[in-house]
Homo-oligomer: 421 residues x 3
């Protein structure tokens, strides 16, 4: 995953444009189910309209000696996203209102966009900015902002049931790593793993969109179907560093996705931090919007807003590590495995079954017997036809995987039958 992130790193992703297209093409090389969609500029999507497409050929600020003191080719964060074309000579004083830097992080280039108002600007480290002489400078943004399309991709991987699990991530951020190459590469790896599962219960809908508008466009085209089918969903973002685990619940925080994910994280990452939906910031804003109401939450490593490198050039591929990506991937894979395993069972026998003659209980009763079979007896005792695996795992403070394993043993022995939840 880390190597794939490095491969995608230099592409100039934005709300639209060839950087997104190329990113999705490379994901498609790994996910054969991927389908890319183009939505023309001007297309409506609920309260929004797809804007013109933005593409950049070059962008720089050049001093009188012809040295590029700011060069988009060196780091695409240098250019304010969706900057209009410019070709002008100006003094530093004239240039200053178009420059963005972070005085408190003098080595970092900030990430700035202006999608919905025509502007231009350059971002640079505060140290670089302070070294600029009085000019004059040639300022050149060789970009087009013209009718085109917004590009997104989806991969629907069918299962035995029409009921769906959603995995959504975004591909609009340029060269940053945790926020956001980690989401697309973890989602890509998850799609490959899901496709490899021999007997999937659920259908999986993987979505790679530009953040916010891409999710809105996607929902505007798929809402009713998703409302009818989605049992749980995940927004993947900031899932590649190795510092923390974070969970952001759905709007009311009480869906199957919320219950199950908390239980998985409790065992996968006992110190994980649960945020409030009030602290949301990614596409759960759309999936959990009133009237949309999908059961979608977000699993992260260190959450956006919560780390100093956020939305700067310091959020790079040293911050995101192979171990960080693997930990995030394992957490979400654990959630999907738990979803696949989650069942509601009812005991087929009245009173406790005789586990002994089924080889599930020692025949010699000593002072220690009870410890050996406590879990299987407790799991059985709560299979009352009303509690699903996740609820029993929470009640017993066991992992969903462990409860599911014991339920499978009991079901194989004919002691449990599945009921409609």
């Amino acid at each position: 995953m880390h190597a794939f992130a490095a491969d995608l790193w230099p592409l100039n992703r934005s709300l639209t444009g060839d950087g997104v297209r190329e990113t999705l093409r490379r994901i498609g090389l790994r996910v054969p189910e991927l389908r890319v969609h183009e939505v023309p500029s001007g297309s409506p999507a609920f309260d929004w309209t797809v804007p013109d497409e933005w593409n950049v050929r070059d962008a720089y600020v050049e001093d009188a000696a012809g040295n590029r003191v700011i060069d988009w080719r060196r780091n695409n964060l240098h250019l304010v996203g969706y900057s209009v074309p410019v070709d002008a000579v100006m003094t530093l004083d004239e240039l200053q209102p178009h420059l963005h830097s972070l005085p408190d992080m003098p080595g970092a280039i900030p990430y700035i966009t202006s999608y919905y108002a025509p502007r231009w600007g350059f971002c640079l480290s505060h140290a670089e900015r302070e070294r600029l002489g009085p000019g004059p400078y040639r300022v050149r943004i060789d970009a087009t902002l013209a009718p085109g399309s917004l590009t997104y991709a989806e991969a629907v991987i069918p299962g035995r049931e029409a009921a769906e699990v959603l995995v959504s991530t975004y591909v609009c951020h340029p060269s940053m790593a945790n926020n956001e190459l980690s989401g697309p590469v973890v989602a890509t790896q998850l799609a490959r793993w899901v496709a490899s599962l021999p007997d999937r219960r659920y259908t999986y809908r993987f979505v790679w969109v530009p953040e916010t508008l891409g999710a809105i466009v996607y929902l505007s085209r798929n809402l009713r179907e998703m409302q009818a089918r989605t049992v749980a969903g995940y927004v993947l973002t900031c899932i590649g560093d190795d510092r923390a685990y974070s969970f952001l619940p759905s709007r009311d925080g009480d869906t199957l996705a919320d219950r199950l994910t908390r239980q998985v994280l409790r065992h996968h990452a006992p110190g994980f931090r649960e945020f409030s939906f009030l602290e949301r910031g990614s596409d759960e804003r759309q999936y959990c919007a009133p009237g949309v109401d999908l059961p979608v939450c977000s699993v992260m490593r260190t959450k956006y807003y919560e780390y100093p490198e956020y939305h700067t050039s310091l959020d790079d591929l040293t911050l995101v590590t192979p171990a960080g990506l693997q930990g995030g991937y394992d957490a979400v894979r654990g959630c999907i495995a738990a979803l696949e395993a989650n069942r509601t069972y009812r005991s087929t026998v009245l009173c406790e079954p005789q586990l002994g003659r089924r080889g599930l209980y020692p025949t010699l009763s000593t002072r220690e017997t009870r410890f050996l079979v406590r879990d299987i007896k407790n799991v059985w005792a709560y299979c009352d036809g009303r509690k699903d695996t996740a609820a029993i795992a929470e009640r017993l403070d066991l992992s969903i995987a462990r409860v599911a394993e014991l339920q499978a043993t009991l079901a194989a022995a004919g002691l449990l039958e599945e009921v409609a939840p």
Copy 2:
């Protein structure tokens, strides 16, 4: 309010009588909507009967030299409420069983009544009592206890809706300030403010009654109407000192009045103390009685029973201050404003609205953008057609006023529509 309390101070209020009448007449000078009702002695009211009316012309204990050692004209607390007439000469020993004082508060005259058993008695400070010589004394209570009526007043101030807010307070306590001139004067001022509101949603029912029996009489005449119409109600008492804020919830503590008032107090008086309904002591005993079941709670400054001067002559107009009355008034006015503003909205758009083109969101996205618009986005996100303003304010830890303001902005922009709660 403090000046009005001083004006009402000397009147000899009791369960019935001219002191109540004169008090209500003076309130009526300020509240033109006031209607005074007389309920004849002997009238039934649920489990109770209106007793004879009590009026006092004079009452004193005079020593052999003709000095009034206890004089009702100096302080009407000196006379046990509802004392029967007496004209006798007796020694101190004979008088003692009729005297009441507080050994642990030697400077305070206690407040004592005997509404439902014929008695007579005098209250005095323990210091005065200890100075009394052996007598003889002339004891004179020039009072009438005879068929008459119980007097109460109401002011119904109509709004756009028949649904009502109740404000109830009591006018049976003689010369004491926090308990109880503060309630009547704050209620009077609130009635004036409500009447001045240009576009009231609710109808307001202000009630000034003698405590307990007055509320019972009032309910016996208005119960079904009040049950059909009341959305929230407040008993005002002990609302004039400047030491604390107190909240006493309704019987089960979960009505709109309870939820909303807690949220208002959380912002108006963060250190307010919530009592249990088990610690009640005023007319919420009637409004929240089983079978009556009105959504009535009580907002107070320092609660009855909780301050040492309670029910003594030390509860005076130095204890109750202009700032104390104003703070209590502001708290209840805040509750009424919150009730008026409380709405249930649903978003008119699916997914987040584009706040930017409505001037509600900055068009340049930087690391700080989210802080600027967090509240308005959070308010919108919870307008799901099920949560009222008070519930959203609680979820977001904002004041109801702030949430209502943002909802109004969103509604004005066409992004919210009101739904029936």
Copy 3:
């Protein structure tokens, strides 16, 4: 109770056999309503089958000199329960796999059974074991394991209503005291007390069964009737020592039995410890099994598993004391009294009743009046036709007995009427 436990002490109780029969016969001498049932070996009971009956005439290990180094006649714990017959001579090395001792409790004989797999063995203190020479030894178990029956007893003591309270305990443990002669003797005493009640509301079903299989057999014969009738039930076990009070709730912990028992224990034994159903270990495993779903909890002194002497010869009649048995008995009797008293009332009057003219309220109102009548007014205020006595007791933090007493006073005064719960 302690003397009766001493009387039952030496009997060789087990899952079946004459030790159980004799125990039940002696209980029957005290409880005339007792009916003993015999269930033939081979009878099915849900997932189980009644095994052969086990009876022991003698069992010992004898050294070459004819000394019984282990002698079942001295302590019936010496023999592994359900040991098959043996008559052999062997060395210590050959004997060792059949010996059980506790190295960490060298003075204690452990309690071991092997009901469902043919085995034989002896239990002894580790100190005794270490003193054994190399042998040879004569090993003799003069026992029969042959078709017979499982024996249990019940005593149904009728009340005014068909609705039932269940009290279940077990009679399969040989010579141990807290676990388990305390349960049978406390249940016996409770049955005598219940039978002596002049006007029982509920019907009482007392059950003495071998643990686990006995409860399963009993339920297999009475389940539908018990499901239709049982309002609350108790498993009595470990209820005779004087160290702690323990409560184990039903499976979901929210039945009437749970609510009421917690409230009784809160007043009877304020420091009682509430366990989780996950820590269960007795016949609540059957009564609360999924599909059985009876409202059964367990009241104990020091719970099985929680004391070092558990399932050893040290759990004897010095550990169980007269005071310990009495405390446990009083706790359960308190629960039964609370069940009998538990009612749902509604006020017959609107607004507060005039307690004064009924002699329930002082006629002189002073600063102290409220304390005198607080409880009766609070009880009345919550008689809203929805809360039973237990719920009001919990709300008011009073004992159920105290609330029931005040409700009876109010009902006698015509102020409350009972409603169907």
